[in-house]
């Protein structure tokens, strides 16, 4: 038992590497924060977005984070809230934005509870049994462990709560992606005006989310020496999941482009041409072929579902997922129905400014910080559950 506790929690301490890494993150964070302060002071004009293309990197990021929130649910929710909370003041019930904010808040709370509940027993056990627990974390663990003593009634409450939450999170997760897609699909813009945007986004979120999970698994396994607990088998299975969801996503992609591509209504034609052979063609084909098709084919082979190749593939998939959001947001805005004329040149094209890019980095750094902190302070893999699976009693020391 001690073995398990040690293996699964020895990363909960603040070593040199942690400080180096956090120091680096903090520096980068400050640098990018400066950009954000600039934006607060001088307004959104410092970003490349203008009247016509008013959704740029920021909304791409937002959609991307919502999508990968199947793992980083918590982080994305925080970002989503920062970005959109003020909308409440003007809320219209018919507006997808109100729904989006509501759903994200709900999702955030459910996710937080789902993160916390399974950890209650772990914190109780670690508080009692893990000698290396940093002293300042002890009171935190004590309060958060809620006096857990493995009492059957306590376990019953925890299990029932998790069960209810798991049921709740399914509609919440489906809603969050669907409602986010409605922010786009409830307009008549070519490129967004689509009835399948809901499932299109949901399946896209599964792809980005699974890829993010695989990457996180790989780094936790490596840095926190969890090879015995996150095995090749886990990676193999996650690889299969990723192939499956990527296939579904591919299917929606084909629908999304083929159906309007067959009819080629005038505005759609302009949009599709821009994507497939115009200004955005390089990105488009890299994303579709390099970020979806090739990964699918590769992952069909067992060898490619080993931890290292699978992680590399996932990184490519995740990067492509970000660019995919960009391709959904920006090109559609570049072609409004009214001809763009008689306006300053920088209204017609969009290119992200340095400040925008810095703020984008800011959000990614924030994600890394939060993930690092959480994974440094709390066990990544449930200790008690692992122990019980092996038939051990977590609160008694005489076994193992």
């Amino acid at each position: 038992m001690d073995q398990i506790i040690n293996d699964l929690s020895h990363h909960i301490r603040l070593n040199k590497g942690f400080f180096l890494w956090m120091g680096f993150l903090a520096l980068a964070f400050l640098a990018c924060l400066y950009a954000y302060i600039q934006q607060l002071r001088y307004g959104l004009g410092v970003a490349g977005i203008r009247d016509y293309i008013s959704w740029g990197l920021y909304i791409s990021n937002f959609v991307f984070f919502v999508a990968s929130s199947l793992i980083g649910m918590l982080i994305s929710a925080v970002l989503g809230l920062i970005g959109l909370a003020y909308v409440f003041l003007y809320a219209r019930f018919q507006s997808p934005i109100l729904w989006d904010v509501t759903v994200i808040t709900t999702y955030f709370v459910i996710s937080l509870l789902l993160l916390f509940l399974p950890m209650i027993p772990d914190m109780a056990v670690l508080y009692k049994r893990f000698a290396n627990l940093p002293s300042w974390l002890k009171p935190v663990y004590k309060v958060l462990s809620l006096n857990w003593t493995d009492h059957p009634e306590q376990n019953r409450i925890i299990h029932r709560s998790i069960y209810i939450l798991l049921i709740l999170i399914i509609p919440a997760a489906l809603s969050i992606h669907t409602v986010t897609s409605w922010l786009f699909a409830l307009t008549v813009r070519p490129g967004w005006d689509s009835t399948i945007f809901g499932p299109y986004f949901v399946s896209g979120a599964f792809v980005a989310g699974s890829a993010a999970v695989i990457i996180a698994m790989f780094f936790f396994r490596k840095n926190y020496k969890l090879q015995d607990y996150l095995t090749d088998l886990h990676f193999n299975n996650m690889g299969k999941v990723l192939v499956l969801v990527a296939f579904v996503y591919l299917y929606f992609n084909i629908n999304e482009y083929l159906v309007p591509g067959y009819k080629l209504k005038r505005a759609d034609a302009v949009h599709l041409k821009e994507l497939m052979s115009g200004h955005f063609a390089l990105t488009f084909w890299l994303v579709q072929v390099g970020g979806l098709l090739i990964p699918i084919v590769l992952m069909l082979f067992r060898k490619m579902r080993k931890p290292l190749p699978l992680t590399l593939i996932s990184i490519v998939v995740l990067i492509a997922a970000w660019f995919k959001r960009y391709l959904i947001v920006v090109p559609a805005m570049a072609h409004p129905f009214l001809p763009v004329q008689h306006v300053p040149d920088n209204f017609k094209v969009y290119s992200p400014t340095l400040i925008e890019i810095a703020i984008t980095l800011l959000s990614f750094i924030l994600v890394l910080i939060i993930i690092t902190l959480i994974s440094k302070f709390f066990p990544v893999i449930p200790v008690v559950e692992t122990a019980k699976e092996k038939g051990l009693d977590p609160l008694k020391s005489n076994e193992s």
Partner: protein, 302 residues
């Protein structure tokens, strides 16, 4: 030192060459001679100034201030001789057609408006003398004036074309007339073009069920459509109360998806509130029951 001088000289020459050429923006010969058909007046200059500030200032800056935008190719200050030495027709052509990044103003400013902008620019050009409109007009096709009225008995829009000759107005025969109705965006042509008769009239049947605004007003226009150039552009616009009064209720009068916040559909408010209540009921229920975990231990102790 000498080397530096040569290099500088070379640079100046190249710059001058580029400056002098206006490369690739050639005004066709038949456009150069185009002139404004009225004398520039102070009113026109004033209107031109307003239009200039709205449409051109962002790039060309305020004339004589040389504060034009730093873009390539350079827009330049239009009060300078480079523009000042060009003919009216050249300026008119350039404003009409534009050249990336300068927008074309063909559909943004009417011909009259373009001319008034030019009159404003000309007020900065020393030594400029406006070509005499009367004299030049003779070589530029007939000057036509249009009037428009509704004939209640015939139920026709009657457009009359008059040619302005030296000896006064004369009915113009054979002028191709187009009648159009102004809509939210652009104009809708009412029927096929028709030439004017001997007496200078062209009549167009007016559909009796044509929708007007609340009081039945319709904005109509008529234009001479002469591709051969034997007649000059002429246009008339008028608001006539000849449409069916149409009072469509505003789209935002009733509760609907697209309406304002106060007019949200009831089912939508209900759905939203219910969904939030149900989900959050469970969330609070869970939070409360999780807090109970602490008490359980105490019970066991006692």
């Amino acid at each position: 030192m000498k080397k530096l001088f040569y290099i500088l000289l070379l640079m100046v020459i190249t710059l001058l060459r580029v400056e002098a050429q206006n490369p690739g923006w050639i005004v066709p010969d038949d456009q150069k001679g185009k002139i404004c058909l009225v004398k520039f007046t102070p009113d026109m200059v004033k209107q031109g100034e307003a239009l200039y500030m709205k449409n051109c200032q962002s790039c060309h800056g305020i004339p004589t201030k040389k504060n034009f935008a730093a873009i390539q190719p350079s827009p330049g200050d239009l009060s300078e001789p480079k523009a000042g030495t060009q003919k009216d027709g050249e300026l008119f052509y350039r404003i009409t057609t534009g050249k990336v990044p300068m927008p074309e103003f063909r559909n943004i400013l009417s011909e009259d408006e373009r001319w008034s902008v030019i009159s404003f620019l000309r007020s900065f050009h020393k030594g400029y003398v406006q070509p005499d409109p009367e004299k030049m007009a003779a070589s530029m096709g007939k000057r036509i004036r249009l009037t428009m009225a509704y004939d209640t008995a015939k139920k026709k829009i009657m457009v009359k074309a008059v040619e302005l000759t030296k000896n006064g107005p004369v009915s113009a025969k054979g002028a191709e007339i187009i009648v159009f109705v102004q809509r939210y965006f652009g104009n809708m042509q009412l029927a096929d073009p028709k030439p004017t008769s001997e007496s200078g009239y062209a009549g167009f049947d007016w559909p009796q069920d044509f929708p007007g605004d609340k009081t039945g007003k319709v904005i109509l226009g008529a234009r001479v459509n002469d591709p051969t150039g034997s007649m000059q552009e002429a246009i008339v616009r008028d608001t006539l109360t000849i449409g069916l009064p149409t009072n469509k209720p505003s789209l935002t009068d009733t509760r609907a998806m697209w309406s304002t916040r106060e007019k949200a559909p009831v089912w939508m408010i209900l759905t939203y509130v219910l969904a939030v209540i149900i989900v959050w009921y469970f969330i609070f229920y869970i939070i409360l029951s999780v807090l109970d975990i602490r008490k359980i231990k105490q019970i066991k102790k006692t």
